[in-house]
């Protein structure tokens, strides 16, 4: 086990700058999720840590050792790939034992370690099968088994659940967390799915366009997003963004809609500045004397009701956790909790509320 430190890491593919100077500190034993939209460079960053991509600039440390220019096989890491990358012609036990075989480990040691990993993952009965004879979830486990057998300093996961169906994904999510609790190896996990990030991570790194947008615990990111990108990316359904300015101690949206401001906001300081008002759909309540709007869309799932309201030309999405009866084109009044409102500077995208 080891800490991982990434200092000003850069990666260029020709003229294209994919990673543009990333700094991340990962403590020993921590479960860190790199999350971001497609093309943000998260997988590239992981492959740089793994040694599968050259580092164009900056340094990567595993423990005290700088590994930026070491070959993958000398970094003492294990990686689980999106498509599992199992050896198709080898049985499950050969797949898991391959790294040990390359290290010329003894037969006994190899069998012991493979058996141990198999029992952790419940693969005991599948050891003689070939990968093509396994289901997606089983292959995923074998890929993890291969990593466990190595007993590496760091586990790297590259979108390991994206090839599984929704139900299995939830199950494997739990299993990977349980595995981490049990083994305690430092883990870096890449995903584009923010729900996966929120549910699994000790710490989330939000990447966008090759830069770190914010690093924090899942709840920090949810409660206090640093900027518009993180605010829009974390949380599902996405946060409502309403453009406008502060006038007379109120937030005036472009269409004229007036919205309550959080307390303690130095309103005068932002007079005339173009701002973005952010409120999460789940922080909106039905309230008799609130803001009036017309229902444009209703989706009920039983446990919750998702609705789109038109409030003076401004679309506002709401998520009601209680079951309320609303109809298309019906009028509905909503209330916002000002303490859960986020205000961002439109020009810089940065959070402005203390």
């Amino acid at each position: 086990m080891a800490s991982v430190r990434i200092v000003n890491a850069k990666k260029n593919f020709g003229a294209v700058k994919v990673i543009r100077g990333v700094d991340i500190d990962i403590a020993d034993g921590e479960f860190v999720v790199l999350v971001g939209p497609s093309g943000c460079g998260k997988s590239t960053l992981l492959r740089m840590i793994a040694g599968l991509e050259e580092v164009s600039g900056g340094e990567i440390y595993i423990g005290q050792r700088e590994v930026s220019h070491l070959r993958a096989r000398d970094r003492d890491i294990a990686m689980v790939f999106q498509n599992y990358a199992l050896y198709p012609h080898m049985t499950v036990s050969d797949n898991m034992g391959f790294a040990l075989k390359l290290k010329k480990a003894g037969e006994q040691e190899m069998n012991d370690k493979v058996a141990r990993a198999a029992s952790i993952l419940g693969l005991e009965n599948l050891l003689e099968r070939l990968p093509r004879q396994l289901s997606g979830g089983q292959r995923q486990r074998v890929a993890m088994g291969r990593a466990i057998v190595r007993d590496p300093q760091v586990f790297l996961f590259d979108e390991p659940l994206s090839n599984l169906d929704a139900k299995l994904r939830v199950q494997m999510r739990g299993e990977i967390r349980a595995l981490h609790r049990r083994i305690g190896t430092t883990t870096i996990y890449v995903t584009h799915d923010q729900v996966e990030a929120m549910t699994m991570a000790d710490k989330i790194v939000v990447l966008h366009d090759g830069l770190v947008e914010q690093i924090g615990t899942p709840l920090e990111l949810y409660d206090r997003p640093d900027n518009l990108f993180v605010a829009g990316f974390i949380g599902s359904p996405a946060m409502n963004f309403i453009d406008g300015r502060i006038e007379n101690g109120e937030f005036k949206a472009i269409g004229g809609l007036a919205l309550p401001l959080p307390e303690g906001l130095p309103a005068g300081k932002f007079a005339g500045v173009e701002l973005v008002y952010g409120i999460r759909p789940e922080h909106i309540r039905a309230k008799a004397d609130g803001i009036q709007g017309t229902v444009d869309l209703v989706e009920g799932t039983g446990s919750e009701v998702y609705a789109k309201l038109d409030c003076q030309g401004q679309a506002i999405y709401c998520l009601f956790r209680e079951r309320i009866q609303i109809e298309y084109q019906q009028s509905l009044c909503i209330g916002l909790d000002p303490s859960l409102v986020h205000i961002f500077d439109k020009a810089t995208g940065k959070r402005v509320v203390v």
Partner: protein, 302 residues
């Protein structure tokens, strides 16, 4: 006007599909079953063309077993086939690994490399015969440049078969290369990344990943090459006619001589039957071996 409500006929013919297979059946009988059965029948007769035919039962087979020239030609066939399979397989695999990499002019060079396959065997034979010529041939000239003494090539009993195999290798290595290249294209790339992380070096990646994964394709190449080499006739006949003496006489050449030089149809038929059985046995063995190397098929039928 055509009436739309037709009366349903009161009788129906039972459907009979057999006539539809007749054309295919006739062709198969004419070109496969009949010649085969006729060969078996001929092999049981002492029959020289233009002379009387007498039924002799298994006598031709007994004579064959006692015929030293037959055994010698069988050995030549095996020797020739083994070399003509192993060498192209080895060289073709290396060529495929090279052409699988990216380098300038790859497409052009690959085209050049497969050109020998397109040439006519008899033309190849004539050109190589000239190149093999002990006094006038270019090969001995090249050898003299590096200080190696002149060889007899196809004019020497000791070197005639390896020399013929050189021609075979020259012509058919590209075929093996194409097959293996196809295999390499079908090999997934991801396992190489896991192998890199698992600590494999270049040789280990080849030994434990590439080789087993292209195994099924190598076996296809072996099967094609084996069948081709066993029935090889044109190049040998055009270059040496089985000579010097009988030093390059394979079963095919011997069979041809018996049938069409000596007109001993019965004896030649017996030889053909034995040869046929050998090829069938060998094909089965190769197919079984191939089955063992398959890793990619969905569902293994167990």
């Amino acid at each position: 006007m055509i009436s739309t409500d037709r009366a349903v006929p009161s009788y129906r013919l039972a459907p009979n599909y057999r006539p539809f297979v007749m054309p295919a059946l006739i062709v198969v009988c004419a070109v496969i079953i009949f010649p085969w059965a006729f060969t078996v029948w001929m092999s049981a007769n002492d029959w020289t063309l233009g002379q009387a035919r007498t039924f002799v039962g298994a006598e031709n087979y007994i004579n064959l077993a006692l015929d030293a020239r037959f055994w010698e030609s069988l050995w030549h066939t095996i020797y020739y086939t083994a070399l003509a399979v192993i060498l192209p397989l080895f060289l073709g695999t290396i060529a495929a690994l090279i052409f699988d990499e990216q380098f300038p002019l790859r497409g052009f060079l690959r085209g050049v490399f497969v050109m020998p396959m397109m040439a006519t065997p008899v033309a190849i034979a004539l050109v190589w015969t000239m190149m093999f010529h002990p006094q006038l041939g270019i090969l001995n000239y090249f050898l003299s440049l590096v200080g190696i003494e002149a060889q007899g090539w196809i004019y020497d009993q000791a070197t005639v078969i390896p020399s013929l195999v050189i021609v075979e290798v020259w012509q058919w290595t590209p075929l093996v290369m194409l097959i293996v290249l196809g295999g390499l294209a079908a090999v997934p790339r991801e396992p190489y990344e896991s192998a890199e992380i698992d600590g494999a070096n270049g040789w280990q990646k080849f030994r434990y990943l590439t080789l087993p994964m292209i195994g099924p394709f190598l076996m296809i190449a072996v099967i094609i090459r084996t069948i081709d080499a066993l029935k090889s006739f044109d190049i040998i006949y055009a270059m040496t006619q089985g000579g010097p003496g009988t030093a390059s006489e394979t079963i095919n050449i011997y069979l041809y001589n018996v049938a069409f030089s000596y007109y001993n149809i019965g004896y030649a038929s017996a030889m053909a039957i034995i040869f046929f059985i050998l090829i069938v046995i060998l094909s089965f063995v190769l197919l079984i071996v191939r089955q063992c190397t398959v890793w990619s098929q969905a569902g293994d039928g167990k």
